[in-house]
Structures are given as C-alpha cells and as structure tokens.
C-alpha cells in the first residue's frame, strides 16, 4: 500500500477545507479573546468591586441587650457567654452535606434541618443562620477542630439572655425569642431588619422585655472584616469600625429579695402575691405561681415543654396578678364600707345577724350559720359579717358602690409596662344595660343583685393588682398608681405625689380599725396573719370567692363541703393587708386559686411575705439612682462585643 497521495483533487479539497477549519478555530479563539477583553478590560471596574466585596465584608455588630435590675441594682436579666454554631449557606458547597458532616458532632434532627432550610430560603444565602447554641466547651472545641472539613460552618462565641432568678421574675421581665417574619416586617428600616437577621439576635416576646424592647435593644455597630471564601475572618480592619451601644438599663421598683421570698411563700400553690408601696405606688413584689423558667424560652422552647405548660391546669404561663380575674369576695366589703359611709350610713349603724336574711323571694345567708349577733360597721369588717352588708345594700345605690370601687382602682387597667392585663368587671346599671344589649328584658338592675355585689360576689371581678391598688388607696387615702419601672437608661421615671382620694379620713379610719381587728383582735378572721418578726401591726381582710355554685352529692342531695369538691371547683382564697397599721407604707395582696379559705390559705402566706417586707423595710433604704446606674453600665460592661 502506498501512502503517498495519488489524488490531487482530494489533496486540493483537503487543503481548502483545512484552511476553512483553521479559520474557524482561529475565529473561535478570537471570540474567547474578545470575552477575555470584555471581562478584564471593559468590565474590570465592576469585577474589581465584586472582588472587593468578596474579600471585605461589612459585619453588623449586635449590641448587647440592656440589663434589667431591681430597685437596689441587683441583676434580674443580663447576657451570658454562649458558644454557638452558625451556618453561612453561601459558603457551603452543599448545605445538606455540611449538615450531615456536622451532625456527627452535634445532633441535628430532621425538624431542625427543615427549619434551617426554610430560613435559608427566607433570609437568603448570605445571612448566617444559627444552627445550635448554648454548646458546652467540649462540643464547641470539637467543631472548631473540624471546621476545615465543614465548609460554611462558623463556630462563634456569642451572648445569650440570662435570667439569674429564673422563674422568680418570669412574669415581671417576660422573655425574649428569635425574631419572626412578622417582627421583620414590622421594622421600618433596612438597618433594623438587618440587625434582626443577625444570628442569635433576640427580641422581647413577653412582659417588660416586650414593652421596652426598643430601649433594651441598643444600637448596632459595624465593622469591616477581610474574609476568605469560607467566611472565616482573616483580618479585622480598624477603618470604618463603629462600636455597638448596649441597650438601656431598665431599673425596676421590684425588690428581688422580697420577690423571691414571696415566691417561696406561695410555694406549690397556684396564686399571686403583690406588694406595693402605698405612698409611691411602686410595686415591690409581683409574683405568680407556678412560673416557667424564662431561660428555657430564649433558646427556643422545647415543643413538649410548651405543650405541657399550656395543658397544666395551674396555668404556669398566665401572669396571674395581672391577667387572673377573681371575684374579690369579702375583701370587697372594704369598698362597701366606704361607699356606705359616703351614702350617709353611719359607722354606728347596727344590724343583728341571725345567719341569714330574706330579701324578696330569696334567702341570703351569712357565711356563719349561727349568725354574728349585733354588728356595727367595724365589727362587721372584723367578722366579715355578710348580713350586716346585706342590710347596708338595701339602702345603697349600686351606682355609688360601683363608683367607689372604680375610685379605688377596680375595673381598670394600669399601664405598668406589662402587656396582657385584664380589666375585670365593676357592675352597675350602665354595665348591665350594655351587657344585655341584645335582650332588653334583662337590662334592669335588681336590688337583689346589689346584695351579691356588696359582699364581692355576683358579677364583680378584679385582678390581684387592682386589689393591691385598692388596698394601697385605702391605706394611704391617696389615689396612688402602680409603677414597675424606676428608670430607663439615664431617664428616671418621676414619682409624683398622688392626689387625695376624696374620702373622709374618719371613713377610712373605720376601715383601718376593722382591718386591724381582723388580724390583731381576738375573734378576728385572720389571726393567723399576725406578724412575728417585728413589732409592727398588720391590718388585713380575708376573702373567699366562690368558683362554682353550691354542689350537691348526686345520691344524698347533701350540699358538698368545699374541700370535697374537685380542685378546680373549690373557692379562691384572698387576703389583702397593709402595714404598719398606724402609718401605712406597704400594701399586699395574696390570692391562692382554689385555696378554699382566705383566712386559712391566703392569710398565712401574707404573713410570711409581710414579715419579710417589714423586716427589710425597703422603702427606707436608698435605692440606686438610674442615672448612676447608666454610668455604671457603660463603665463595667464590655460594649461593642457580641456577634
């Protein structure tokens, strides 16, 4: 076979085609060269900028959340170190692969993976996402060692909210939580939204944390960092550094020591304790039991725990002093006594109690079957005689009674910085008309109803905070308003002297005298509440508010005793008090849900709380000045840290 070309036509054709082929290839290389010129010459500026952005990152410095302290500067809410792991989706080759690799060190449930991927979709691939926090040092170190094999994973030391008193102050401060999409939408500026997107950034969810979220949040800083493709910061640059400013420090009127004493005194009961300064209205104790631990909430609450808390009949998520409404029971007789005197009924008005009276077709019973005998107003308070007040009710206009109740703080919400307060009901003619707006035949007020209301039953309801205000106003004769916040940052909340309530001093003295007798006189209904740690005398009034109407045994038809009923149907126990009797300074309210008897369940708790209060006498101790506090906070806490 001869390999040499013997076909000139074929060779010519090949040569032509080869030139065409070469021309084609050269043209294609020309095209590539043009593209190169486009990228490197024409669009150079654009890509240089992108490369810079790749290399240099503006990072938001999350501000530290402001602390919350009690009246003496003791910390109730602060920030503690928190080892956490972030994921920067943009820096991973594959999010799933990275998460699988990471799950060899920390557990990542399917739920969590779904949540992470949802967040990536919502927030974009450039925003770091918190995968886990509150890690122990060992796990955190393991992740740090493995980081080269975990693209996109960023271990970081951050800060998390800490409530050193745990459930003791849960209902005062509330708690924080991760911002939701709704929170993001509510922010007006892009900067604020950006801050909310920072990993580990929390917003106030409940209580003061929610109400004062803006003040507590602080001001974000900014820094310029040089990063590599893994998002690892190679260098932090000094230029363009703007330190973050910690949020304002919130100073409360709460005395955390007394708060904890009250929590302990309430114990396992489902109940409330409120202590107020009757002169200033400052709330010293605002306790609710059982309480949740807010430290469990700021890291994202476990769904099982959440379900349990919601299903619990003792309602550990309800802030009972503000959101629990109870018939005031016999504590309302204090209002009734004032209203009676306002309507012209003399404190020396006498009634003979035989255990019940008939009014119209109905028999109204006194709590004491055998009756109290002859009672004047003071003794009627001392013995909590129902019949005396029934007789008063016959002469008393319901609208005057209601007006008096409102003057003393019932039926209204006091803005103390905690959302979710209930108003309660102070019934009168107008109320009934409105209540039965759709059935005009029921709109008329019957005198018999006044007999129920005057002893604190029927439609009348109140919150423990309202009862505390009532007691404080009865004690001081001034229209004090409750406050919970003494200062925000350097701004002190001014305490103005409350105006006189416009009730004759003698009228108040009758009530004081009666309340003194309740505790300190032989035969008083709350002898158990006598203070023992100091010489101070306490004045008080018991209350037992009916939860269910009388229950009968289905077989015998016998009326069941309260202790025979299921827990949820038993009566609530109340006790309102103030001390010292001669120069009132502190008012307290104890409510024990389904505690059956004010004198047996509530009064002993009140005694413990007021013993602690009188022993410490916090009103006489100098509280910290919020402006001094603000100075302290900026000097002692490392602002500009975090994130």
């Amino acid at each position: 076979m001869n390999l040499n070309e013997q076909d000139p036509a074929r060779q010519n054709s090949f040569t032509r085609r080869t030139f065409l082929f070469s021309a084609g290839i050269t043209t294609l290389f020309g095209g590539v060269a043009l593209r190169l010129a486009q990228l490197q010459l024409k669009e150079y500026d654009h890509y240089v900028e992108l490369a810079r952005e790749n290399q240099f990152n503006r990072q938001v410095i999350s501000p530290l959340r402001g602390e919350i302290v009690d009246r003496f500067g003791k910390v109730i809410a602060t920030n503690k170190k928190n080892f956490r792991v972030l994921l920067i989706p943009e820096r991973t080759a594959d999010v799933d692969e990275t998460l699988i690799a990471l799950s060899k060190i920390i557990e990542i449930s399917d739920d969590k993976r779904d949540r992470i991927k949802r967040q990536i979709r919502r927030r974009g691939v450039f925003t770091p996402i918190e995968i886990a926090d509150n890690l122990d040092w060992e796990t955190f170190s393991k992740i740090n060692i493995e980081v080269p094999y975990l693209p996109g994973i960023l271990p970081e030391e951050g800060r998390t909210r800490d409530y050193p008193l745990g459930n003791g102050t849960a209902f005062v401060v509330g708690y924080v939580g991760a911002p939701t999409d709704r929170d993001l939408k509510a922010e007006p500026t892009a900067n604020a939204r950006n801050l909310l997107r920072q990993p580990g950034f929390k917003v106030g969810r409940e209580g003061l944390e929610r109400r004062y979220d803006e003040e507590l949040r602080g001001k974000a800083g900014e820094k310029l960092v040089k990063v590599n493709a893994h998002g690892r910061v190679i260098e932090e640059l000094d230029e363009g550094l703007q330190k973050a400013k910690q949020g304002d420090r919130l100073a409360l009127t709460i005395d955390s020591e007394l708060q904890m004493a009250a929590m302990e005194a309430l114990g396992d009961n489902s109940g409330s304790a409120v202590v107020m300064d009757v002169k200033t209205g400052e709330i010293l104790v605002l306790a609710s039991t059982p309480a949740f631990d807010p430290n469990n909430f700021n890291v994202g609450i476990d769904p099982v725990l959440w379900r349990d808390l919601n299903a619990d009949p003792t309602k550990p998520l309800v802030n009972k002093p503000l959101s629990g409404v109870y018939p005031p029971g016999s504590t309302f007789k204090l209002i009734s006594a004032i209203a009676a005197q306002k309507s012209g009924i003399s404190p020396n008005f006498r009634v003979r109690c035989r255990g019940s009276i008939r009014f119209g077709k109905n028999t109204h019973r006194c709590w004491k079957r055998g009756g109290h005998g002859t009672m004047n107003m003071r003794d009627a308070i001392k013995n909590s005689c129902d019949v005396f007040f029934y007789e008063v009710a016959k002469q008393l206009d319901i609208d005057l009674l209601a007006e008096t109740a409102r003057d003393f703080g019932l039926g209204q919400v006091f803005e103390i910085g905690i959302p979710g307060q209930r108003k309660g009901i102070v019934p009168d003619r107008a109320w009934k008309k409105e209540y039965f707006a759709n059935s005009p035949e029921n709109q008329q007020w019957f005198a018999g109803e006044t007999l129920s209301v005057i002893i604190g039953q029927g439609a009348v309801t109140s919150t423990p905070l309202q009862l505390a205000v009532m007691t404080a106003r009865l004690a001081s004769g001034r229209a004090v308003r409750p406050t919970l916040v003494r200062g925000v940052g350097e701004r002190a909340v001014p305490i103005l002297e409350a105006p006189l309530i416009g009730v004759d001093g003698d009228a108040l003295n009758v009530v004081h005298d009666g309340m003194n007798a309740v505790v300190n006189e032989l035969g008083g209904t709350a002898r158990r509440a006598r203070l023992e740690n100091t010489e101070t005398l306490l004045a008080g009034k018991t209350g037992t508010s009916q939860v269910a109407s009388l229950q009968r045994d289905p077989k015998t038809g016998r009326i069941l005793k309260n202790e025979e009923l299921p827990w949820r149907l038993r009566d609530h126990a109340l006790f309102v008090s103030f001390a010292p009797v001669d120069n009132p300074r502190y008012a307290s309210v104890i409510v024990v849900e389904h505690g059956q008897s004010g004198s047996r369940a509530a009064a002993p708790i009140a005694k413990k709380v007021m013993d602690a209060v009188m022993e410490k006498d916090p009103a006489l101790k100098k509280p910290y000045d919020p402006s001094v506090l603000a100075g302290l906070s900026s000097a002692s806490s490392p602002s500009g840290e975090g994130s």
């Binding site: 390999l3 080869t18 082929f21 290389f29 010129a37």
Partner: protein, 373 residues
C-alpha cells in the same frame, strides 16, 4: 547521493530523530510549564501537591509522544480499526463492569490498572475516521452513501459516552468526528441539511427528557448563573469575578485574591484558567490563548505538508480535539459555554487527559516525520 536518504527516510532512527518537529515540542513544553507555574500558585506557592507531579507527568508523556512519533505512520494506520473497536468494546463494557467515580461510571479496571475507555476512544475515533477516508476517492467522499459508516462510527461511541453520563466527552467526540468528516470533504449541501437536522434533534432532546436532570441543570445554570448561587453557577460567578478583577496586567503571581482566598474550589483542574487570568491579567491570558493557537496552527502546517491522507486527517482530528478542549474550557470559565467538566489541556492537573493529548500529538509527529517519499 542524498536521494538515497530521501528514498528511505524511515529506515534510519537517526534521520527520524533529525526530522522531529522541535517547534511543536517546544510549544507543548511551554504550555506544560505554564501549567506547572500556575499549579505552584494554586497550591499557595508550593511544588506539592500538583506542580511537581505535573512536570513529571509531562516528561513521561513527552517520551510517549516521541515514541509514537518515531513509529511509522503505516503501523498506526494498520491498527486504527483495531484500536477503535477495542475502545468501543471497552466503552460498551463500562455500564456492565465499570467502576463508579464521582457519580459517573467512566472507568474500567484491569488487574488493578484503571483506565477510561472514553479517553482511548478520543484517539481511536480520530484514527478510524482518518483510516476510513484514506480509502475513499474524491467522488465517493461527497456521496451520501459513504457518509453512513462514519456517522455510525461517531454515533456509537458518542451514544455510549452520553449514557455514562459524560456530556463533555460526548460533545468533544462528536465535534471532533464531525470536524474530520468536514475536512475530509463533506458536501456542503449535506452539511447544511445535517446542521438543520441536528438543531431540530437538539430541540427534541430537550423536550423529550433525553438529557439527565443535572445536564439540563448545567445548561440552564449556564444561561443564568445567578439562578443558583450555590450550585455550579456559584463557581461561574466567582470565576468571572476572579478573571475580570485581574485587569490588564493581573494581580501578580501568587497574589490572586479570589483564588488564594479559596473562593474557587478545585482550581487545579477545570478552573485553572481562572487563576491564570486573575494573576497574569489580560496580557498573560491572551498570551496563553495565542500559545494554544500557535500549537494548533503548527499542527495544521504539519497536516498541509503531510503526504498521506491518513496522516493529514489524523493531524486535523488531533487539532480539533485539542482546540475543542481549550475552547470549551476557557469558554466555560468565562461563561461562554456550559460548565461541563472539560480540563484545559496540558495546563490543568490530571494525568489521563495529558496522556491522551500527548499520544494524539505523537500521531501528529509521526505524520510529520514520515513524508513517505
């Protein structure tokens, strides 16, 4: 007396060595040096793990090139069909007894030795087509009947490669085959009708799900890289940033911020042009493109001078493969072509492709040495 030498030039090894095209060797070596230099930079200024090994591999491959080049072109023509059918059989065996690596079945194993049949086929197809057209007369070449065998010869391996799946190699084999058919003298009329038909077939393939989802994904990503910043589009975006920010003179050797800060993964293989462009700028990258073009045009010169039709067509086939590698790769990292996983020949790190390319240039050398006069 010199005519005696010219009559039997293939007889003396010394004469053959004298006839070696040293310009081609020099240009290829320059390219491999550019590869080593860049790999040194990719490793952050280290001969390991890539640069040194790349150099050694090039040296070994160069010996292979010269070895093949010094063997008579007759011999290569004789074993053209056997090589092709061996490669075809091996390709067919891949789905049955192949080894899966990185999600695709491309490898065969013989007694601990692994090889990619698709790489052998790159040479085998070129040789078989050249062998086929060597035996045809001019009038036969333009006849449609004689177009059927080469189309089957191209279609069979391309089909087998596509099902592996290996889109890049499929495109490479198909395009190289068609380039040879064109240069061999395909009639313009048939060529035009074929092109129209291919466009329609491509359209149909899109509509009837013939491509694997990841292949469609790649093509779609190519069309809009910002679509999926975490997928392949991320690489393309970062690659364009790196090249674009290189500017006229580049950021300097070992100074490429995008590359050195690891914004781009696997720089040593498919994206090596990126770091080259970033560090050496427009001047350097354009120089590299010219180097490729010089090599191709040098080989084209060999083809034009070669006396055997087989030698010419083999040379053009190798040129086609080589230029397609370079064009697809550079086009790919700059967003002109889909990211299909084609390395930059002799510059990217990777032994298999280097052996294929150098063996191909061995055939070019053989065609150059043997004037057959």
């Amino acid at each position: 007396m010199s005519s005696i030498l010219l009559q039997n030039p293939q007889k003396g090894l010394r004469d053959r060595i004298v006839r070696i095209n040293w310009i081609l060797v020099l240009l290829l070596s320059l390219l491999a040096t550019a590869g080593m230099t860049t790999l040194y930079s990719v490793a952050g200024g280290d001969w390991n793990p890539w640069a040194l090994k790349h150099g050694i591999r090039y040296g070994v491959s160069l010996i292979l090139l010269l070895g093949i080049g010094l063997v008579s072109i007759r011999f290569w023509m004789k074993i053209s069909y056997p090589i092709y059918f061996f490669a075809l059989a091996a390709l067919a065996a891949v789905p049955l007894i192949g080894v899966t690596r990185l999600g695709a079945q491309r490898w065969l194993e013989f007694g601990g030795l692994q090889f990619q049949p698709s790489e052998v086929m790159k040479i085998g197809l070129v040789m078989a087509l050249a062998r086929y057209y060597h035996g045809l007369r001019t009038d036969q070449v333009s006849h449609i009947i004689y177009l059927i065998p080469p189309l089957i010869m191209i279609g069979a391996p391309v089909g087998l490669v596509f099902i592996q799946p290996d889109l890049g190699t499929g495109i490479l084999l198909g395009s190289t085959g068609l380039a040879i058919v064109f240069v061999a003298g395909l009639s313009w009329r048939i060529g035009f009708l074929g092109a129209v038909g291919a466009l329609l077939a491509g359209y149909a393939a899109y509509w009837f799900d013939i491509l694997k989802p990841y292949q469609i994904e790649r093509i779609l990503t190519f069309m809009n890289p910002e679509r999926d910043p975490l997928g392949k589009g991320y690489h393309l975006t970062q690659s364009k940033i790196a090249i674009g920010s290189g500017g006229v003179n580049g950021k300097g050797y070992l100074e490429g911020t995008q590359s050195q800060l690891k914004f781009l993964p696997e720089l040593q293989t498919d994206f090596i042009f990126t770091i080259f462009g970033e560090e050496f700028g427009f001047v350097g990258a354009l120089g590299l493109l010219f180097l490729y073009l010089f090599i191709i045009l040098t080989a084209v010169g060999v083809a034009l001078k070669a006396k055997s039709h087989f030698g010419r067509l083999v040379t053009i086939g190798v040129c086609a493969t080589f230029s397609l590698y370079a064009l697809i790769n550079t086009g790919m990292v700059m967003g002109l072509a889909p990211v299909v996983g084609v390395p930059l020949p002799l510059v990217s790190y990777g032994g298999t492709v280097m052996v294929t390319i150098m063996a191909g240039f061995g055939l070019v050398m053989s065609a150059h040495i043997y004037y057959d006069k």
